[in-house]
């Protein structure tokens, strides 16, 4: 009635790959966190599609927990970024060389 399951998984996979590229390529910690968010969003899409495929509400419950974990992760990650910015004056991971000698 709607679409084949594979197409939804394909959409989720492409979004996940975009998040992966964003996570690896950027030189900015905030863009890295955004990449993680995009990947969690893709996982949520796949979970909702699987919940509809097997008619189990467990999939949707998992999406709720993904949302909660993602909210905790992004808030803690941003607090870390702000703390690092206060300490080093930069949000570029290449600049963090305090331990280098």
């Amino acid at each position: 009635m709607i679409v084949p399951l594979g197409h939804v998984f394909l959409l989720a996979g492409i979004v996940f790959a975009m998040g992966l590229v964003c996570l690896v390529a950027h030189r900015n910690l905030i863009m890295t966190l955004i990449g993680v968010e995009v990947m969690m969003n893709a996982a949520a899409i796949a979970f909702v599609a699987a919940a509809l495929r097997w008619r189990l509400m467990e999939g949707q419950a998992f999406v709720l927990f993904i949302l909660a974990v993602s909210a905790a992760e992004i808030s803690l990650g941003l607090a870390l970024v702000v703390s690092l910015y206060r300490r080093t004056g930069s949000i570029d991971p290449d600049r963090y060389d305090i331990l280098k000698w």
Partner: protein, 184 residues
């Protein structure tokens, strides 16, 4: 092709375009604004796939709370031009993404179950909430503890100077030698 299928493909194009634009922006503010569009499209997709409560949660939590928080933090920080410069890591990153995508697509479409056409259904918010607190109440409580842990950690990280006091005791030991080297 039914109306639902048309809506799904339109939403898919919107999500992919917005996400693709978001991950290629160099200005984080632009990326976050595109990401809001992507998350609103995701919320509509959840509604289409029969999860109206989750659609509301995505709008409220993702588009409403998380991305606004990211925007505030972006405003707090000062940009340096180097973070916006052209990146040399795009090649390896794209290669990784393409390899991952190829493997994932091959795995998904090798399974004959991927051709099963989804039947429309919706989990009513009342049923979903009852199911959640009936069977997964312990996980809900654990998530609340997770939030408490995150809150404590953020408060500890955000504390201003007391936390760095012990570091200031370390610095005077290192600074004189550095100053001597600087003068000599």
């Amino acid at each position: 092709m039914t109306l639902f299928a048309v809506i799904f493909y339109v939403l898919g194009v919107v999500i992919l375009t917005a996400t693709g634009l978001a991950v290629t922006r160099r200005q984080p503010v632009h990326a976050v604004l595109y990401l809001i569009v992507a998350f609103l499209g995701t919320a509509a997709l959840f509604f289409l796939l029969g999860a109206p409560l989750l659609a509301a949660f995505v709008v409220i939590i993702y588009a409403g709370a998380i991305l606004v928080l990211v925007l505030f933090v972006i405003m707090l920080l000062q940009r340096s031009p180097r973070e916006l410069s052209l990146l040399s890591e795009w090649g390896p990153a794209l290669l990784l993404g393409i390899i991952f995508l190829t493997v994932a697509v091959a795995t998904v479409f090798k399974d004959p179950g991927s051709k099963i056409v989804l039947q429309g259904a919706a989990a009513q918010p009342r049923d979903f909430g009852r199911f959640l607190f009936d069977r997964y109440w312990l996980a809900v409580e654990i998530v609340s503890i997770l939030f408490l842990v995150a809150l404590v950690a953020i408060l500890h990280l955000g504390k201003k100077r007391e936390a760095d006091g012990d570091e200031d005791e370390v610095n005077p030991v290192r600074n004189p030698s550095g100053a001597k080297e600087g003068h000599s």
